[in-house]
Amino acid sequence: MPMSRTVRFLAGGLAAAVTAALALPSASMGAVASETGVSPREIVIGSTTPLTGPAAPGYKELAPAAAAYFDHVNKNGGINGRKIKFVYYDDKYSPAETKKVTKQLILGDKIFAMFNALGTPPHSAVVDDLNRRGIPDVFVNTGYSGFDNVKKYPTTFPYFPSYVVEAKTMAYFIQNTPELANLKRCLFYQSGEFGDNAKAGFKAAGVDFATETSYFSGAQLQPLTAQITALRSAGCQLVVFFGVTSATANMLATSARAQFAPKWLVTSVGSDNGTLAGLGVPNALLEGLYTPSFLPLLQDTSNKYVSETKAIIEGAGLPWTYYSFYGATSAYVFAQALKAAGKDLTRKGLISALETQSKNFRTPGIVPLVYSKTSHLGYNGYFMGQYKSGLLTRATDYIITADNSLTSKATRGSYTQKPPTAKMLP
């Protein structure tokens, strides 16, 4: 029905009667024969992600890698007989652009589901609308803990561990690592929800800091001299950093110039060595830096997730990086959810499959992927990694798990990763 009509009903149970009274065409009533974006031969899914602009380094590799994986699935028969059509647009990490291209995905491309939409500010501009329309919003690429809210965002499924979970796991690691526990620790964070989430996690874990300093988003490439001077003057021996990758690069470079060399514990979203190298950070500055991770190590080709995904990525002519690994493997998990939703694919069926069958999915994580009817948490923890000679290595042979509660701490856990299916097909 190509028009704008808004007849909202205050009494949901009476909506059908009202609709009949207004004699609206059936298309506006949701009683349609087939699900939007699903045809006998195709499933249309969409994504918004920065392919250009300041946020593109690293992140721009995600969607092409996912597309490469979907091509792999399509070449091997698709999912329940349907090929996946993956449409993704560059939103430049700009919420206004995100609104614009999301509208195109919903009304123009008529997507069945949103997949891997990236960034808290951009996604916040559309998440309410996606949920209101009942569009599955699967594996959102942001650690904002607020998206794990089944009541408010019933169709939204975060994927990687939230910043609250990450802060709690960092706190556990600090408290249970003799080398770090007694160091004078300080916090350097990005103002706003990113830093707020981190601080909430540390507070829940009972970890406080001798000194806190911050920068604001947009200033990550401006001089951080004042912040580094403050950290150095306070005698910080361990600096926990919650900021984006470009800020990490700036911080490490500024500290090196100031001959300030504390132990660093850096958020996973700001510590990818490939992206840091692209920003001019030499491996020497990363040596010994701790950072959490939940995926297998890229160099561990004995891990089937690594070796199989690497073949798909390199077969598609894409660079083999942490982000291409992440993008392709999250697409693999999504493909399993689509298959689990059955041949009569519906949006409700996909959400139900994620909530009730995810424990059966083969996932690349070193930690469990947790979805239920009451929680859309996603991966629930990390192992601690440490850079040595330019490679991320495991600093813990255990994992640390947590949830988004602001009253509980992280705990030490164990998890045995199941191997992927043959050819990583769902």
Binding site: M1, P2, M3, S4, R5, T6, V7, R8, F9, L10, A11, L14, A17, V18, A20, A21, L22, A23, L24, P25, A27, S28, T52, G53, P54, K92, S94, P95, A96, E97, K103, I106, L107, T120, P121, P122, S124, A125, V127, D128, R132, R133, Y144, G146, S191, G192, E193, G195, T213, S214, F216, S217, G218, A219, Q220, L221, Q222
Partner: protein, 571 residues
Amino acid sequence: MYRRVIAASAAMAMALVAVPLASPASAADACALGQICEGTATGSLGTTKWKIQMPAANFNGTVLLYSHGYRVATPVPAALATPLGFASSPWYRAVTVPGLGASFVGSDAAQVAPSDSVANQLLAKGYALAGAGYATQGWAVAEGVQAGELLMDHINKGGIKGVKKIAVYGESLGANISQVLAERNPRKVSGTLGLCGAYSGPQQLWSGAMTVMYTWKTLINPTIRGANYQSYAQALGDLQIVLGTLAAVGAGTATVSPVGYPIAQANMLAGLMAGLPTNSTNYDGFANPNVEKIGTAAAAAQGYTPLSAGASTAAAMLQNVGAAAALGILGRWDLEQRARVLAGIAATDNANFNGNLTVRYSALLSEAQRNEFGDTMNAVPGVANNLDRMLNALDASIGNPALRFPENGAAVKAINSIPTPNGNSFRTPTVMVTTQSDPISPEGNQGFMNDLISSKLFVATKKGRVADGGAGRESLYTEPVPVNYTKYTANGVRPDLAASVTESGVGHCNFRLNLGNGAQIIGGMDILAAYMNKSIPAGQKKARQVVRSVGGFVNDPDYEPTPLKVVALAK
């Protein structure tokens, strides 16, 4: 052009139930084809001018009775009236006032259409046009309704021959008047077209204004009075402060307020909490494309502005608050004066009709707004967590009558007694059209009206509540131009503010001229005609056709406007 502001005459007599007193027209008074007929009618609220304009030929039997939008009742000095558009408006007249000098004030001239172009197109379709001035200006719903009823009586008693139907239509405040006319006169009114209606009424509209003014008083300029104006000079003083500060920020001569807060971010917070749009006539809310190429920091070093999408919205909010300031301040003066008259409140007593003593302002900033624009509001060099700092300052005075604005119950009661739409016209075909981005009457007003009508579609019977049926209804939202409309100067550094003002489709009743002058309004009338003259399916078919053929409408069956910010939920 700012066309709709409210004001008041303290001396007005306001009976809230209109009692038409005009003498009926005789057959000899009938306005003939091709003629323009004018006259006056007197009711309990005063004398109003009216005007009828007949088509040259082929009268189709339907009279369109127009209710105009706000006109300021109190003279506004030229220095303020000119930037607000009053000085160039045909509906304002120049006056010289002792103490104010050359000023402009809303006229009482009758108006039959939003513009001459729309009038001519409607006449060409065979409609007869009618419209009234109001006995007083300002938030003149009661006066407008009485004027409309007087005019309908005149028409029905021979003022126009061959009348089969009367449909009411109006813009902004006039949409409210039209709606109330339809609700009160179901047997006389056959259809309603509301354009950019301010349906939620003065309590809701001025709670948004209160949010802006309280934020300004707390974070930007403590000398702002904000409410309970005891002289017109106080209101003009507030307007001068707001417009002067916005101009200084725009010119780059003011950045930090005397109380230490960044003005642009504080104003952005005010607008977001009040539910104003995140784009404006000049700023589309998108990042400068050149910034996207070179990065924020590099762009800052090279003098680019606005730097990011959030900064574009901050700039847009300067414009939006400027556009809303006259309504927020002069309109409050008008309403408080009305409250004083209606409730007998002395000039020195409190006339505030919407208090904010217990409002927790941080609750008005939604999670989505915080996430989307938090980075911009935190972007203050040398200040950590600026957004929380501002919100904490706003919330710190909860319960403090010296820093907040307590209400006077008598004033509340008086303002609530002014007629507002109630949805009871659900059996009358109704079409509503508004712009998506309207800083004066946000699009949520139209959603509010839709809900109000829907809530009346069930009636209690012995068998329980059943659907009544209701008439055909369409709610259309117009979109900005489809491409990013902020244009940049040749070197790409700064926005070119003259480039696309009239084409953006953003602003109060700023329908897209580039689709044909008034085409979206005419389209709305065509839809209403199909509902009135044919059937619900015919109206729906016409609506689809109009959306396709005119363009610039939201083409989304599941579209919902951004809801209004309800301050009561934050108390």
